[in-house]
Symmetry: C2
Subunit: 250 residues, 2 copies
Amino acid sequence: MENTTIKFLKSLQQKKFRNIHNEFIVEGVKMVNELIQSEFKVKAIYATDTQDLITSDTTPILISDKELSRISGLKSPNKVLAVVEIPEPKIKHEELKDKLSIVLENIQDPGNLGTIIRIANWYGIENILCSEDTVECYNPKVTQATMGAIFRVKVHYCDIYSLIEKAQEWQKFNVYATHLSGDNIHDKELNNSGFIIMGNESKGISKRIKDEFISKIKLPSYPPNDDQMESLNVAIATAITVAEFRRRII
Amino acid sequence: MENTTIKFLKSLQQKKFRNIHNEFIVEGVKMVNELIQSEFKVKAIYATDTQDLITSDTTPILISDKELSRISGLKSPNKVLAVVEIPEPKIKHEELKDKLSIVLENIQDPGNLGTIIRIANWYGIENILCSEDTVECYNPKVTQATMGAIFRVKVHYCDIYSLIEKAQEWQKFNVYATHLSGDNIHDKELNNSGFIIMGNESKGISKRIKDEFISKIKLPSYPPNDDQMESLNVAIATAITVAEFRRRII
């Protein structure tokens, strides 16, 4: 491999260069096989061994283990690394009106975002709408944590505040946010056309969201108590919330 | 600080030395404050600044930022590091008979174990029973992920197989395991005196558990499908399962 190629591939570990080149990295046999079966545009595949790879239009470039370890961002590189074009999913508001979507405000941890994308995929949520200050979804730690769900769920970065304002005018549509001041989710009517807003890991939803005219829901602990010692991680809270919405219609 | 002290404290990052000394490390102001309020036995506290620390019987030893960064296992050390005695929680079978407990078989990821301990704390589960090959709970990555719940939930390592066999003789007690072949959890009678068994991250529960006479439950995806592309992380699956058990009695 040429040094310039190695340098370029390594640069894609950083957000700055992903933005410049509009490309990101996907690693590992399972992930690359899911990539190949998705609608994402593959730019290049580098592999030390192609026998477990699904055949695609992109012919893999054979490299040595040593070369792979130079270009990989993983501690234990796993046979293959692909370069992928960053898609530009457009949100059509019309499409959101009769669906359940997750809205994320300022989620910072890549593992949390990746896990939330995986949860969305499991529960048939097609769109995740992220505030501009949410961690970027093509961060390798995010894509790895999605276990391939990144190729099946659309992640949009947008002005969530104006979107939420707009959504409040939609018919038969509800906006929900999890907050300690909310009503017990199990006692609440839940509409599967709506937004579920989840807030930052340490601060929760912002005052701006809290003051909007939205439905606040609370996940009850057991036994119910107001002891603030216990808490749930934001990805865990997202899972329990979405599971409860979906349970009502299953 | 003396070099031997620094060496000793750093050694506690490794399981081998935690076992030899029967001590583990807790870091950060929030975690150490929760430690102080728990029943765990504090052996020493090292702090660069004590103003946010709760007063306790253990007088903190003041150290410099440079010293803290030498003994810390964190990328960004947070003012304080404590040495704690590893407790030896004994399981009394009598105590488990009328409670819900989580049983973990061969969980490998420290973040997953830490998150499961935090979930147990939220849902009032007092005991987690781990197979001997589950990751050790005093691993710093586990304790950090618990956000303090490690001080409030008892984690036992034991022969889960003989325990499960024994539990099957208990009156009004059920043993559940999540498995794809199981019944939809939402259609199932759930008994809050029981074990919920969760299996290894990639392999799920073992054949040995699967073949036991236990109740298999499945978390339904939405829309329901048998596509094996999607999956849930084991900590997420634990959260949704336990939330459903608790919802039934709230």
